[in-house]
Each structure stands twice: as structure tokens, then as C-alpha cells.
């Protein structure tokens, strides 16, 4: 576990972040300029906070009041930078083993690097570079892994190539991972815990399913990024129509494509703007998914939209409707109604394991 309490002033900007990162992936989410990179640099020892304390599994690596400030070399923090920062004069293999060769064969295997070992960074694609950078960090046997927007420089195609490696890493190692991102799809797929930073302050923190489905988070993370994340289980395949049926506490969801074997867990992000609300059971219509839900929260934003928090079984959903619709439907907390989700609203980037 990673305990973080960091204060740092940079000109007019103030970073003031206190949170705990349990094992698994802790996503630090926020807009650019919210202090995400400063925060991970402080954990790595590349930036010295003005005050605070940082501990990894109980080992203090920074404590301003006790004047403890381990140099980056001694922190055993693996850092994957946005721009990879591979050493241009070394081969992939030399880069990988620069800091150590912990579990080298397995890391090379998991990340699919065997074919690249003799190449130089200049000849690698962006995605290959990030995989090498990740392998290099892992071979140091880090106690914490920091990833600062590792996919931001890549196009959607490359992202979708790398994300499965990250999911495998999350599921097969026990290293706490701090994952900085401004892309909610990445966060939804990878994170176990989400920290939302807003102008240097922790706005919300908690398990991914709870944080991203809160109606009051919408103004902070942006309306397009808002959307609940639920964990489902594959219940069946509708082969004729190439659909997959997913079971969760609030009912069944039918989504396009083959999403996994029966019984497998699948994580789904349902964008708030693609959820339609209806007071009656809708009749003849194209949308495949109709779920009975209860309103838990109504949060008007600055614009014409209203964020509506919903409970479906034990899971939370989030819908975004216009202020006008909310008024006409007389939406109120505690009200029971139906959420309609188009099967095609959930894109492949929103589905993970």
C-alpha cells in the first residue's frame, strides 16, 4: 500500500493531495494542469514536496517533518514516463536490463518483447517503446509502479494493443500501480481505485465503480467522461445476432460482439450521455437494454445538463439528461423508473477485463 500526503507550491499553483493507494491500479485522473505529473514526480523523488509524507508498505521514503528524503535511486519506484525516455544509444535489451534483471524472462514474455531485444529505440513504434519502458521499470523489482500517461502519445489502435498488457500486469503482479491519465476509458478499464484531482486538490477518491458513477463528480471530470463502471459476468452468447449477454446485480445487459467466455468477468463503462430515462416501460423500440432503476442523486451542472445517479441492484449507473427533460419528468430522488441503454453505445474502448 502506498500512503501519500503531499503539499507543494509552484508559483500560484498549489498541490495538496492526501490519499492511500491500495494494491491494484490507482488511477489519478484529472484535466491537464491539475497536478497529476507533479504528484507522481514527488512519489518518484524527482520533485521535493514542501511538506508531507510518503510511505510504501510502511517504509517512509519522504517525511518533511523528520527530514527524510530518499533520492530517486533508493526509492525502488518504477516509473514509466509519457515519452518513454529510452536510452537512444542502447539496444532494447540494454535498456531493459539497465536497472536490473528481476524476473527478466517473464517480463519479456508478458510484454511480448522477444522480437525487439536487439533493436534500438529509434526503430521502435510508440507502442513498442512504451512496452520496453514498462519492462525496464519492472526489471528493477519496484515496490510501486508509476505510470504517467503512458498511452497519451499513442493513437487509438496502439492503445488497444497495449491495454491488454496493462490489464495482465495488474492481474498478475502484486505491485501497487499509480496510473496517471486524463482518458476516462483507460481509467475505467484499468483502475481499481480512482483519485480525481482538480486544481491540485483531491476532489473525489474511492473504488472505480463508486467514483465514476457519482452525479456530483460530473462537473469535475467533464460531461463526456462521465459514466458508471460496472463489473459483469458473461451469461451467454446470442450467436445469430453476434451479441453477448452480461449479468450484473441490476439485471442483464446485451452488448455487441464476443466479450468473453461464459462465467468470465467483464468490466463495462456505460457513458452517462448514452443512458435514456423513461417513467414507463418503453414499448416498441430499438434499444435492447431496459433496466429498472431508482434515482439516488440529482446534480444540476452549470450548463443545460443534469447528472442523475441511479441504483440498479447493488450497482450504480449514471445518466445525463437535459434540465428541461428532468423538469418535465419531475425527476426526484427515490423515484423508480427505467434506464434505457443502446447496445451500441458501449464501444470496445469501454470494455475491459
Amino acid at each position: 500500500m502506498l500512503e501519500i500526503d503531499v503539499r507543494k507550491s509552484q508559483g500560484a499553483f498549489q498541490l495538496n493531495a492526501t490519499f492511500e493507494a491500495p494494491d491494484g491500479v490507482t488511477a489519478v485522473f484529472g484535466r491537464s494542469g491539475s497536478g497529476k505529473t507533479t504528484l507522481v514526480n514527488a512519489i518518484a523523488g524527482l520533485v521535493t514536496p514542501d511538506a508531507g509524507r510518503i510511505a510504501v508498505d510502511g517504509t517512509v521514503i519522504f517525511d518533511a517533518s523528520r527530514r527524510i528524503n530518499l533520492p530517486p535511486q533508493k526509492r525502488r519506484v518504477g516509473y514509466v514516463f509519457q515519452d518513454a525516455r529510452l536510452f537512444p544509444h542502447m539496444t532494447v535489451y540494454q535498456n531493459l536490463t539497465y536497472g536490473g534483471r528481476h524476473d527478466a524472462e517473464r517480463v519479456i514474455d508478458i510484454l511480448g518483447l522477444t522480437q525487439l531485444l536487439g533493436r534500438r529505440p529509434a526503430g521502435l513504434s510508440g507502442g513498442e517503446r512504451q512496452r520496453v519502458a514498462l519492462g525496464r521499470a519492472l526489471m528493477c523489482d519496484p515496490q510501486v509502479l508509476l505510470m504517467d500517461e503512458p498511452l497519451a502519445a499513442l493513437d487509438a489502435q496502439r492503445k488497444s494493443e497495449i491495454l491488454p498488457y496493462f490489464e495482465r500486469l495488474r492481474d498478475e503482479t502484486r505491485i501497487p500501480i499509480v496510473y496517471v491519465s486524463h482518458d476516462v476509458s483507460e481509467v475505467a478499464r484499468l483502475a481499481t481505485t480512482v483519485i480525481v484531482l482538480d486544481v491540485g486538490q483531491v476532489a473525489v477518491a474511492g473504488p472505480v465503480g463508486q467514483v465514476l458513477s457519482r452525479a456530483d463528480v460530473v462537473p469535475v471530470i467533464g460531461t463526456r467522461a462521465a459514466g458508471a463502471v460496472i463489473v459483469t459476468k458473461v451469461a451467454g452468447r446470442l450467436l445469430d445476432d453476434d451479441l453477448t449477454e452480461l449479468q450484473f446485480s441490476g439485471g442483464r445487459l446485451v452488448l455487441p460482439g464476443q466479450l468473453g467466455e461464459i462465467g468470465q468477468h467483464v468490466r463495462v463503462r456505460i457513458p452517462a450521455q448514452d443512458v435514456i430515462l423513461s417513467r414507463d416501460v418503453p414499448g416498441n423500440m430499438s434499444a435492447l437494454n431496459v433496466l429498472p432503476v431508482t434515482i439516488t442523486q440529482i446534480n444540476p451542472g452549470r450548463g443545460p445538463g443534469v447528472a442523475v445517479g441511479l441504483k440498479a441492484g447493488d450497482d450504480h449507473l449514471l445518466a445525463r439528461v437535459t434540465r428541461r427533460s428532468a423538469g418535465r419528468m419531475e425527476l426526484a430522488v427515490g423515484q423508480q423508473l427505467y434506464a434505457i441503454i443502446k447496445a451500441t453505445a458501449v464501444g470496445p474502448q469501454d470494455i475491459g477485463t
Partner: protein, 231 residues
């Protein structure tokens, strides 16, 4: 034309090469260190250090030679200390010529190397630090390999400058044949002697060949280094 060169001239050439090579090799590590500090460290007095490093470039060489005389001659405090402690003396010996050449070449070397260090992304050094490498290891395995072309450029500039140094050398250690008489001071001396045009021309040609050779060698080494860096 080279036939104009007698044994005396060959002595001059050999001494010049020795002086320039020793000056360059002795100054190079110091220049790399100073260039690194100027490029990467922020500390009070950095501009003063920068000024001192560049002083030989802007001072009249005769003044630099005079200052060397005041500091390093046998009777001066530093000179006396060095002779008593390490047995090194500079006064009117080839070592003095090398010292003068090194001091004059130093700012040029620092400038060339500093440009190279400033071009290296500090992010690479940070990455190496998070991978557990000590500062020394980072410098030896990341920074130094990446600045090799500019170190070579600095070395050649330094060598060429050392080979051509005249004012500070002649002021500090005079032009004693076989001791401190280098190619420039020999050419200057021979120009005062009637009928020595052949020897002058020979020395001039040798000077051109040495400078050109050094330049080509450094280009070749730098290209190899760039290829190795893979950019």
C-alpha cells in the same frame, strides 16, 4: 618544400605536437566537468565561474601569459607549492608551454562540450535515477555516451588552439629552442632571419596538415559516435 625542414624544425614540430596533445588531454576531463556544472547546476556564483572560464578568450593573450607568470613561476606562491609538493615546474619548460596552451584552449573546449550537454534531455538522466543508477553511473553510461560527438569536437578545437597558441606561451615561457619553441614562435622567429623562407614554408605546411588531419579525424570519430547513438 618539406625539404626545407632541418633537424631544428623537426624538433619544433615534435615539441609542438607534444605540447598540444598533453594540453588537450590534461584539459579535457576538467573541461567536461566544468561544462557539466555550467550546463546542469544552478548555484550562486555560476556566472562568475562562467566568466573565469571565458577570461582567456577575451583577455589579450599577453595578459594571460603574464598572469600565468605571476601565478606559476618558480618564485610565485602556486608555482613554488607545486614544485615543492609534486616536483612539477612550469618555468621556461615545455610543461609551461602545455599549461599556457591548455589555459588558452580551455574556454573553447568548455563551450563545445556544454552545447552537447545542454542538448541531452535531462529526462533521460531522471529515468536512469529512478532505475537506481548512481550519479556517477548515470554520467558514465547515459550522459557521456550521448555527448561523445561534442567532446570530440571540443578536443579537436582544443588541440588546434593549443597547436597555434603564441602570445600567452611566448610571454610565459619564451621561445627556447628544444624547450618551449613551438611552431608559431619558430615561424615568427624565422621570419626575422634572412633566407629562412624555405623553413617557414615547411612549418606552415606542417601546421596546415596537422590542423586538417585533426579536423578530419574528429569528423570521422563523431560520425561513428552518432551512428552508435542511433539518431
Amino acid at each position: 618544400m618539406i625539404a626545407g625542414l632541418g633537424p631544428q624544425e623537426w624538433t619544433v614540430i615534435a615539441l609542438s605536437i607534444r605540447v598540444a596533445v598533453v594540453a588537450m588531454i590534461a584539459a579535457l576531463p576538467v573541461a567536461v566537468g566544468v561544462a557539466y556544472v555550467l550546463a546542469r547546476k544552478r548555484f550562486p556564483g555560476r556566472q562568475i565561474l562562467n566568466g573565469i572560464v571565458h577570461l582567456p578568450l577575451v583577455l589579450p593573450p599577453v595578459v594571460t601569459g603574464y598572469l600565468l607568470l605571476v601565478i606559476f613561476s618558480k618564485n610565485a606562491p602556486v608555482g613554488a607549492f607545486l614544485e615543492a609538493t609534486f616536483g612539477i615546474s612550469f618555468g621556461f619548460r615545455w610543461t609551461g608551454a602545455a599549461l599556457a596552451a591548455a589555459v588558452m584552449a580551455f574556454p573553447l573546449m568548455v563551450r563545445a562540450i556544454r552545447l552537447g550537454i545542454e542538448a541531452v534531455d535531462p529526462g533521460l538522466e531522471e529515468a536512469a535515477a529512478t532505475l537506481g543508477a548512481s550519479r556517477l553511473r548515470i554520467f558514465m553510461t547515459v550522459t557521456l555516451p550521448l555527448i561523445t560527438p561534442s567532446v570530440l569536437a571540443g578536443a579537436v578545437l582544443g588541440f588546434a588552439k593549443a597547436l597555434g597558441e603564441f602570445g600567452a606561451t611566448i610571454t610565459f615561457v619564451a621561445a627556447i629552442p628544444g624547450q618551449t619553441q613551438t611552431i608559431p614562435s619558430a615561424i615568427y622567429g624565422l621570419l626575422q632571419v634572412p633566407g629562412a623562407e624555405g623553413a617557414v614554408l615547411g612549418l606552415v605546411i606542417v601546421a596546415v596538415i596537422l590542423a586538417m588531419g585533426a579536423l578530419l579525424l574528429s569528423e570521422w570519430l563523431a560520425q561513428r559516435a552518432v551512428r552508435k547513438v542511433g539518431r
